[in-house]
Symmetry: C2
Subunit: 235 residues, 2 copies
DNA sequence: TCAAAAGTGTTCGAATTACACCCATGG
DNA sequence: CCATGGGTGTAATTCGAACACTTTTGA
């Protein structure tokens, strides 16, 4: 096979920043690395790209291996490329961020890996440049979620408006007026009110809503501003 | 040196989508590829990453080699990774998009490469997946420019409001009311009116403006909506 | 009966849009 | 003197922010 002469070939790895929401706060799924270097240190879930995979496919495979989930929201973030980011051998790391319904994970958890959810403001020291990746993913999540309706990916199929608001408030570390919030959210017609209420988190109970899936998919790229003063919150 | 066993090492290339604005329309700088495969076909400017460079550095180097310019606006777009995107050998292509003042280029043009500016709606067939890259870059440029003041990177140090408006109208293929546009732009206080006028493009002449650099840099991440109905224009 | 959270409407100010006329100049 | 493009102001509307009380229920 003819090849490009005189060029260096290097490893390409994928690292997944996996976000989940437990109803109260945003969490990150980390694993204890099972091999050297940095064995047993906390790390993002990752792996090397294989010869016949593209990056998206590889990222999905990696995510599936850890969580058992398929069809997860996954988005390429950025390639990290400092020559010495991996001390063992030059590796380009392509970061992906994923949003999953944390409850689905709890059921299907794989036991191949030592994995654990960490609250976002309590992340342990990570290997290599993974902390940089997490920081960028956080920023990108805020950015994207301020403009597009992606946070539904973090919620179960049925959720209440207070839960949704809680999620937005957590991500932007701000408080939102519930009257304005519910009006804005409902005005998109993206949610379908269910007859049942969630009676667990309050005495009065809060109505469940489901996504109107066709409309949701159609509006995925649309701009939906659910939070007040988005620009002020995106430093 | 200890290494990761059993993994495939692959080539990593950078491809630059270089935008320029000639006062009338948005253009793309392409080169005729000087080596096989696809020799003499039109292509994005690119190159392989070198052992001690990170991607940003490599992209800057590549851009500088073609244009002679430094300090150019450059942003990582995405990694392209279909296994057969380069028929000769597996290569990951990391796309960068650059915004340059086309007039600076005209002076410093390098003659090492057969390079040519193409109007965006008249792009020739490109090698590999470069057309995909261009399409994504166009989309990203629209997206980003709808929210942030990056289009100034395409203009010379002194420019007029009609020129600026022309640029926005070209990128979004829309028409903007000049009264509303100038009010919006000037309300940011980002522009400093110059005493001289551009007498070339009209009889009456249009005042030149310069960027207030400190304010511009400060507001680089800020949200500035210069175009009406941004969401409608970003399909 | 009380505490806790859910649900709902109105008012005000700011921002956005639509729109039309006069000005300066070169030919 | 006229054609061309530059420059400017106002009114109407829409959108977003602020804000308080009633309801339901479990303890």
């Amino acid at each position: 096979m003819v090849r490009y002469g005189g060029q260096t070939r290097i490893l390409v790895a994928i690292d997944c920043i996996i976000f989940g929401f437990d109803g109260n706060e945003l969490k990150l799924l980390l694993i204890q690395r099972g091999f050297e270097p940095e064995k047993l240190k906390w790390s993002l879930m990752g792996g090397f790209i294989q010869p016949n995979e593209n990056l998206d496919y590889a990222a999905n495979t990696i995510l599936n291996k850890l969580t058992g989930l398929e069809g997860v929201y996954l988005e390429q973030l950025q390639a990290f490329s400092e020559p010495n980011r991996d001390p063992l051998e030059r590796t380009i790391g392509v970061a992906y961020f994923a949003l999953i319904d944390i409850h689905k994970y709890e059921i299907q958890i794989s036991h191949e890996y030592q994995a654990e959810w960490f609250s976002l403001n309590n992340i342990p020291e990570l290997i290599f440049d993974h902390s940089l990746m997490v920081a960028l993913a956080k920023k990108q999540l805020r950015y994207k979620a301020a403009l597009h309706p992606i946070l539904f990916e973090l919620l179960p199929g049925k959720f209440t408006l207070p839960q949704l608001q809680n999620l937005y408030e957590g991500i932007y570390e701000t408080e939102i007026d519930k009257r304005n919030f519910s009006r804005k959210v409902l005005s998109t017609k993206l949610l379908i009110k269910q007859p049942e209420k969630d009676m667990v988190n309050s005495k009065k109970g809060a109505y469940y809503y489901k996504l109107d899936m066709p409309k949701y998919i159609e509006n995925f790229q649309a701009f939906l501003y659910f939070i007040p003063n988005p620009q002020a919150l995106l430093g």
